[in-house]
């Protein structure tokens, strides 16, 4: 934590850069998912109560307030339910333009958000809700960086 005086429109201000290190535990479901991606698998959760299949996986069902069980999810295809194409970067964001998509993979009850391949020359990235997408696992990166939706041609 360092402080230094700066001028802001004729007023004196103190500029500070926070340097707070947090080490976020992923939890049982998050760790299983992250390790799953390393071996080319997608780990989902199934609620012990309502039996919904949940992606991203989590250790409890928010609705039933009960435990879930984790399992390897087979499907890699599903329906695009929403998306956006981001043109304005922020600190730490993926390089722009980039696409964010939420798709419900076949057999899942929820949609998983991930980066999506886009046509950068089209305002909407060439994407459309209701179309089929596949979820690819790339060779490099960690966790969600390795996942990409692609339109099924």
């Amino acid at each position: 934590m360092t402080l230094r005086p700066v001028e802001v429109r004729g007023h004196l201000a103190l500029e500070e850069h926070w340097d707070l290190r947090h080490r976020h535990a992923l939890g049982r479901a998050g760790e299983a998912f992250a390790r799953g991606v390393e071996r080319g698998a997608i780990v989902a959760a199934r609620c012990a109560g309502c039996r919904r299949v949940l992606l991203p996986p989590r250790v409890f069902c928010e609705r039933c307030f009960c435990d879930t069980e984790l399992f390897d999810f087979e499907s890699r295809e599903g329906e695009l339910l929403s998306f956006t194409v981001v043109r304005m970067p922020f600190a730490g964001s993926p390089p722009t333009p980039f696409g964010i998509a939420y798709a419900r993979l076949d057999g899942s009850d929820t949609a998983l958000g991930a980066l999506v391949e886009i046509d950068p020359d089209q305002a909407d990235g060439g994407l459309a809700i209701g179309t089929r997408v596949e979820l690819a696992i790339l060779d490099s990166g960690f966790g969600m960086e390795r996942l990409r939706y692609r339109p099924v041609r």
């Binding site: 934590m1 402080l3 103190l14 500070e16 926070w18 340097d19 707070l20 290190r21 947090h22 080490r23 976020h24 535990a25 992923l26 939890g27 049982r28 998050g30 760790e31 989590r58 250790v59 409890f60 928010e62 609705r63 307030f65």
Partner: protein, 280 residues
């Protein structure tokens, strides 16, 4: 109307290796519901005490409110402390806004104590003059706690701990005096004691036990008129988002005794809070 506390559950362990805040909060709240013999469907509202900087999220409740049982429920969060959350939950019941309320608090920091302490001070003055060691050395044991607050109905004390809430209050020290150690936190503790006494049925010193966090609480005892009350062992201290509920859970009362719990939030002795409870 009085309100009762059921299912008081406290877990004063730090997170285990690999354990997430979400997992711990869910486990603690579920245990509180089970102990109180309440289904989540019978809950109307959730009051949370939690801190963003410790959790390393800009809105920790966005990720953790549903772990505390808030899905499709009324939910609110304070950063004062767990006793303030308990009091707020009780007021929601008294106002008729809810029948049964989950209270959940946690201090399970992902960041180191010194960094958290540093950003608790104002940039222009406090960070330049404060004795940071004093802040870091302040009690901040980790943990999570939860309970259920509901209307206390005559003839059906219900299961659980059977405590009814008599009153609660919260406050804070004068920041600059606190930094300088000039009359604070004594003044804040004195005010806290006086206000608690005003908000509760008169204390009978002989029949009241008091549990306070480590530190010099004489001004509080004086303010509340409890200098002669039985003092419970101070014991281990936990962070203010947990400490009050932990003291409530740990208190060993004699038959017929009332209990007063007073503790500090964060930074230590800048925020303060207190409750009084009785056996149903």
């Amino acid at each position: 109307m009085t309100t009762s506390i059921a299912g008081l559950t406290v877990d004063t362990r730090a997170l285990a290796d690999g354990e997430s805040i979400e997992e711990r909060v869910f486990a603690t709240v579920r245990a509180a519901l089970e102990q109180a013999e309440v289904e989540r469907s019978q809950i109307d509202a959730v009051v949370i005490a939690a801190d963003d900087v410790a959790d390393g999220r800009s809105i920790t409740t966005m990720l953790h409110a549903t772990a505390a049982g808030a899905h499709f429920k009324d939910e609110i969060r304070t950063t004062n402390g767990s006793l303030t959350a308990l009091g707020l939950a009780s007021l929601r019941v008294q106002a008729g806004l809810a029948r049964q309320v989950i209270v959940a608090g946690w201090w399970l920091p992902h960041a180191d104590a010194e960094s958290i302490a540093a950003v608790s001070l104002d940039a222009g003055y406090g960070r330049l003059v404060a004795v940071r060691e004093r802040l870091v050395a302040a009690p901040a044991g980790a943990g999570s706690a939860a309970c259920i607050v509901r209307a206390a109905c005559a003839g059906s004390a219900g299961s659980g701990d059977g405590l009814t809430l008599d009153g609660f209050c919260f406050g804070q020290a004068d920041y600059h005096a606190w930094l300088a150690g000039d009359g604070e936190p004594a003044a804040a503790l004195g005010r806290l004691g006086r206000e608690l006494a005003e908000r509760c049925a008169p204390f009978a010193q002989a029949d009241t036990a008091v549990s306070v966090a480590p530190g010099d609480w004489e001004p509080f005892f004086d303010g509340a008129g409890l200098s002669g009350a039985r003092r419970l062992p101070v014991g281990a201290a936990h962070h203010g988002l947990v400490d009050g509920l932990a003291r409530l859970a740990a208190a060993q009362l004699l038959p017929g005794e009332r209990l007063v719990v007073a503790t500090t939030g964060d930074p230590a002795f800048l925020q303060v809070e207190a409750v009084s409870v009785s056996h149903a």
